[in-house]
């Protein structure tokens, strides 16, 4: 997408760079987790920045990061739509997915050993295996450190939905974590 000539305002470009470019790594991180593909993530982030620049005039805060993320998320959803075989994006998810069971029997106490630590690559893989939209909520909370309110704004869902998705996401991650622990024993 080329930037229109009317957007070629040096002052605007300078302000935009100063405000938005510091979040490039965070934006790329989110896109990587959402799209699970390095090249697609790069394209999505570039597209996100160009869209954000176009709409920068109407940006009124409060925080740049969630604003960029909301745009990036929509770009990623368009990419999901393109990958017809991929799981449907979150908003089209059938109601039943939200009701999916939680495998939440805690590990046997009291001899339960301490949680095993994994390296970054293993944990990234466990997160990548989470189903949408739980992965999105989880990444926004645990890796991007957004508040529930900010996550609700980014994902355009009520805070209650954020809470239930996060509970589900953590339950899924926990079982995956324990399974991995069992596997590498």
């Amino acid at each position: 997408m080329a930037v229109r000539a009317s957007d070629d305002d040096p002052e605007k470009a300078r302000r935009f760079r100063e405000a938005a470019l510091p979040y490039l790594d965070e934006a790329y991180t989110l896109a990587r987790y959402l799209l699970r593909d390095a090249a697609d993530a790069e394209d999505a982030v570039q597209e996100c920045y160009l869209r954000a620049y176009k709409h920068f005039d109407s940006y009124r805060g409060p925080a740049m990061k969630p604003w960029l993320f909301a745009i990036l998320r929509n770009v990623c959803r368009a990419e999901f739509a393109r990958r017809k075989s991929a799981p449907a994006p979150s908003d089209d998810l059938p109601e039943t997915a939200e009701q999916a069971p939680m495998w939440n029997e805690p590990t046997e106490t009291p001899e339960r050993q301490l949680l095993r630590r994994f390296d970054g690559d293993t944990v990234r893989k466990l997160i990548a295996a989470l189903a949408e939209p739980f992965r999105e909520t989880f990444v926004l909370r645990e890796i991007q450190n957004l508040s529930y309110r900010e996550i609700a704004d980014v994902a355009a869902v009520p805070v209650g939905t954020v809470m239930s998705r996060l509970a589900r996401a953590r339950a899924m991650l926990r079982s995956a974590w324990l399974a991995e622990q069992e596997r590498v024993k």
């Binding site: 305002d9 965070e26 394209d43 570039q46 355009a156 926990r174």
Partner: protein, 260 residues
């Protein structure tokens, strides 16, 4: 509270997102329920383990360059052809949905603050605080502008204007090299009575004049303005009115210097 409710709410408890009343209710349930207590412990452990693991990705320099090149340059020049993204499909998606979604959820809020500007202001205040520690205020001590100004030569990519404002009630006491926003920056130090004023000066690509704005951060007043390709931050514990007086006197003297 049932276990079913607690299994959702304990996450909000871990995240510190519950108000005091709900937090107490969840805690009370956890105290009396071994199942939920064990779960809470496990979730906290997983969270801790994740916090200790680097889960961020880094954008490649190539991506940074692609985005930089696709944006208009800070200095006007012929618009470079935007680097096309690999997938045309990403282009077509309407931006409208993102904007209306944000509007609908109230993210379009009242405050117009520039995050980056705020961050730099915070750094400027930190630099001011550092300078107040014993022996850190000045690298060159002189009340003579003709000593302070040459001292900066070769130390910075910009020569900060050093103006004697003694007659206007602000005593020049020296200069210092400081670091703000990961860059070396010049600080010209003035005093009024026992109050130190650090005037930080940095180069900017933007030559447009920007009128002064005053902010308060950690009890310090910051007066910020831009002129002739330089950004200025005057930081002091002086009252906003006296700092404004300093800024005005400085700008007046600058204009007189340039025109005279």
């Amino acid at each position: 509270m049932t276990c079913e409710e607690a299994e959702v709410l304990l996450h909000a408890l871990i995240d510190g997102e519950l108000d005091a009343g709900h937090a107490r209710e969840v805690e009370a349930h956890i105290e009396g329920c071994a199942h939920c207590a064990a779960l809470t412990t496990e979730y906290r452990e997983i969270r801790q383990a994740m916090a200790e693991t680097d889960l961020q990705y880094k954008a490649s320099p190539a991506l940074r360059r692609r985005i930089e090149e696709a944006l208009p340059q800070a200095q006007p020049r012929p618009l470079p052809q935007a680097v096309p993204s690999r997938r045309a499909v990403l282009r077509g998606f309407a931006m409208g949905s993102a904007v209306s979604a944000i509007a609908a959820t109230g993210l379009v809020a009242i405050v117009l603050r520039n995050d980056d500007e705020q961050r730099v202001e915070a750094e400027v205040v930190s630099a001011h605080l550092r300078s107040l520690q014993a022996g850190h205020l000045t690298d060159v001590i002189s009340t003579d502008q003709h000593t302070v100004k040459p001292w900066f030569n070769g130390k910075l990519d910009v020569s900060p204007p050093v103006i004697d404002l003694t007659a206007q009630g602000f005593t020049l006491i020296g200069g210092r090299l400081d670091y703000v926003d990961a860059r070396a920056i010049g600080a010209v130090v003035y005093k009024r009575r026992q109050h130190v004023i650090n005037l930080f000066v940095a180069q900017t690509a933007d030559t447009e004049r920007r009128a002064a704005k005053t902010n308060t951060l950690q009890g310090f007043n910051i007066r910020r303005w831009s002129d002739r390709g330089l950004n200025y931050w005057a930081v002091s514990d002086l009252g906003a009115d006296e700092l404004a007086e300093f800024g005005e006197k400085f700008e007046t003297a600058m204009r007189a210097n340039k025109e005279g």
